[in-house]
């Protein structure tokens, strides 16, 4: 660093780095200097410690539960708990979550159903089991081979990961219906008519997956949202 013999300047830069007023290219440069200059790094750390009571005065705020799921997914934790959500465990969990939020979901559904476009014969409303807030509306016609997906809560979108939609049948393992689209309204293509994909499916669920979807074809991440899938015919 070119200011080794200027203790006052070093002190000022360290203080302004900790305060945050050292910005842009100067901040980058200071970070590089700290790497090769332990005394400078120590001086900055002392300033951070000194100013810490200011941060302690900030009111804490609880982040949404989905944040931890995303962090887990990105640090490889979701893969470690894979067994919990696979196959029957997943079905059981998804059903359990639905049972919890069923009343609320059904109530919202009762309001949503009459508003549906004609030809809608399957309706699923997925909600966050913790807040019971509806987040996703999935509809289909019996003989159509596509799902209409409407995102009711755009804040569910995740960076660096994907949300995958699953049909959870009453018996057997969940089947992927595709990734939750990033648009507010979008269509997911099905390989067969909705009757075949959803006929025996009481529940839809969304799990957090690596970007691009589950690499195994079965859910690997935590179940974030679930909801009953209703036949309206």
């Amino acid at each position: 660093m070119n200011c080794k013999d200027q203790p006052e300047l070093r002190e000022r830069l360290a203080a302004e780095y900790a305060l945050g007023t050292l910005r842009g290219a100067a901040r980058e440069r200071f970070r590089r200097w700290m790497r090769d200059d332990p005394a400078l790094a120590r001086s900055a750390a002392q300033w951070e410690e000194r100013l810490m009571p200011l941060a302690e005065a900030i009111a804490p705020a609880t982040p949404p539960p989905s944040l931890w799921h995303r962090i887990e997914a990105r640090t490889g934790g979701a893969a470690a708990s894979k067994k919990d959500v696979l196959g029957k465990g997943f079905v059981w969990r998804a059903l359990g979550l639905v049972a919890g939020g069923a009343a609320a979901a059904l109530l919202v559904m009762a309001m949503v159903l009459p508003l549906q476009r004609p030809g809608v014969e399957y309706v699923a409303l997925l909600s966050d089991p913790k807040t019971q807030k509806p987040v996703l509306l999935v509809t289909a016609g019996r003989r159509e081979s596509r799902l209409h997906v409407k995102t009711l809560d755009p804040s569910i979108r995740v960076a660096d990961a994907s949300l995958e939609l699953w049909a959870v049948p009453s018996t057997g393992s969940p089947k992927s219906l595709g990734l939750v689209p990033s648009a507010d309204r979008a269509v997911i293509g099905l390989s067969a008519a909705a009757d075949q994909a959803l006929g025996n499916v009481p529940v839809l669920a969304v799990s957090l997956e690596p970007r691009g979807g589950s690499p195994t074809g079965a859910p690997t991440g935590p179940v974030l949202y679930t909801g009953p899938c209703i036949k309206d015919w």
């Binding site: 007023t21 910005r23 200011l54 005065a57 804490p60 944040l67 640090t75």
Partner: protein, 186 residues
């Protein structure tokens, strides 16, 4: 075991790839760190995104934590503050609190982020020392720390020449340091 020792222990366990320690660390610190990010960024979606990156970084770099250099909470808070300041530097269209609504909510003879300064309990020395600063110095330092304002943003917000604001910050910091050192029990 005090809080700092417990958090230090959790960080060392994270360095050994102990996932349950990581989840405990998250439970113990996320509300404080989310508060810090939310205060600087003023938007939940941004704060969540930044915090997500920060915890991934804490997990990845836990082995680099040096207890001798910083308390664990200071180390993690600095990671969050740094990431937030980088975030605020991004070119973007939306600027939170651009018109200085926060400043307008508070009488002009008080420091801007008054709520926080009022709440500096457990840190009486800091509070006393902030009180010894001149109004402009105190306001500039609080706005820089809590709102992440740069020198030129401070100048705009406080409607003062850049040179004045820079000198408030510089002198304010020096005075704060002298005062805090005097307050420290020998």
């Amino acid at each position: 075991m005090n809080d700092a020792e417990r958090l230090s222990g959790l960080l060392s366990a994270c360095a050994r790839r102990d996932r349950s320690a990581f989840s405990e660390l998250y439970r113990a610190t996320s509300a404080r760190l989310y508060g810090v990010a939310l205060r600087l960024l003023r938007r939940e979606d941004w704060a969540e995104e930044v915090l997500q990156d920060c915890y991934v970084s804490i997990w990845t770099h836990a082995a680099e934590y040096r207890g001798a250099l910083a308390a664990p909470m200071t180390w993690m808070t600095s990671i969050v503050r740094n990431r937030c300041l980088d975030w605020l530097r991004r070119p973007r269209l939306e600027v939170p609190d651009e018109e200085g609504e926060l400043l307008e909510q508070t009488p002009s003879d008080r420091p801007g982020p008054a709520a926080e300064l009022e709440r500096v309990r457990g840190a009486q020395a800091m509070r006393r020392c902030m009180d010894t600063l001149e109004g402009g110095q105190r306001q500039a330092i609080a706005l820089a720390y809590y709102d992440g304002l740069s020198h030129s943003e401070l100048a705009r917000r406080l409607r003062e020449p850049l040179g004045t604001v820079k000198s408030w910050v510089r002198r304010g910091l020096l005075r704060l340091k002298d005062c805090l050192e005097l307050q420290r029990p020998a």
